[in-house]
């Protein structure tokens, strides 16, 4: 089992999707320090949490990685939802595309996305940003 390899399966498509926008957006992952940009700036965060990671069967537990991926993108407030939708749409597409991928032979990790909740949009009270949030159920397998 390698949580790091599996984590990359989900984080990499999100980072790439945001980097490939006409106006790229920098994306920060868990435990990565960053300075929130001033008003008018844009950024995104990705958080991955594991939930149940094994399933009990008659003769013990077998690995069955399941977790939650939360992607939050921030853009200018009071400018309408268009930019937020531009940011989150390729992220959703990239994550959905994981379901047709095969195991990465370099790492042995393969992941799938299940239900997506969102995107939900929020004009933040405490920051000059408009936020779009996507919550995704994920599952993964690691073939050593």
């Amino acid at each position: 089992m390698s949580f790091q390899a599996v984590r990359a399966v989900f984080e990499r498509p999100v980072i790439d999707a945001l980097a490939n926008l006409t106006t790229p957006v920098q994306c920060f992952v868990d435990n990565q320090a960053f300075t929130i940009p001033d008003a008018g700036g844009e950024y995104a965060t990705v958080n991955l949490q594991w939930g149940a990671t094994t399933t009990r069967v008659l003769r013990g537990n077998f690995e069955n990685l399941r977790g939650s991926l939360v992607v939050e993108c921030f853009c200018s407030k009071n400018a309408g939802p268009a930019r937020a939708q531009e940011m989150i749409t390729p992220v959703m597409t990239a994550l959905n595309d994981l379901n047709s991928c095969v195991c990465d032979p370099a790492t042995g990790a393969v992941g799938w996305v299940r239900d997506m909740t969102g995107p939900n949009f929020f004009a933040l009270d405490d920051a000059p940003f408009y936020k779009v949030r996507l919550s995704v159920a994920i599952s993964a397998r690691f073939d050593s």
Partner: protein
């Protein structure tokens, strides 16, 4: 061996029991993994029959500077006719902050689970819904139907 005509009422009864026990178990899980400071949020979950919007209409009352001990929270499950299922939601006005969807605009509270004195893991609700809820539903269904042999 039961006749087919007897099985249908049994299945309906089992399904209704399963719906009730599932919503109770999910509520128990949410209280278990969710935040507990004064206990107000954890005791503001509500079950409604069918698909309903649960209004956020309970204001935050002032609370102690330190969290109180977590206790069990009970929930009333009303009748749900015709296997209409249930909606479980939280009525506190600050539920989006408690569920880490938003950070508190005043710089207080959980700060999306990054506050050092948080009483639940970051994104606890997303993690539960995305990775544990299905297990709870499946386990409860299996347990109920085992009793209806």
């Amino acid at each position: 061996m039961k006749k087919l005509t007897q099985l249908v009422p049994d299945v309906r009864e089992a399904l209704q029991t399963a719906l009730e026990e599932t919503v109770v178990q999910v509520h128990r899980d949410l209280v278990d993994v969710g935040p507990w400071w004064s206990g107000q949020f954890a005791t503001s979950w509500e079950v409604q029959p069918g698909k309903k919007a649960i209004p956020a209409n309970i204001d935050l009352v002032s609370s102690d500077r330190t969290p109180e001990d977590k206790a069990s929270a009970q929930i009333d499950v009303p009748d749900s006719p015709n296997l209409g299922g249930y909606t479980l939601g939280n009525r506190s006005r600050y539920r989006l902050y408690a569920m880490d969807v938003l950070g508190d605009p005043n710089g207080r509270g959980r700060q999306q689970g990054t506050a050092p004195n948080k009483t639940a893991e970051r994104f606890w609700y997303d993690t539960y819904r995305n990775s544990q809820l299905a297990n709870t539903v499946e386990r409860t269904l299996v347990n109920v139907f085992r009793r209806y042999k």
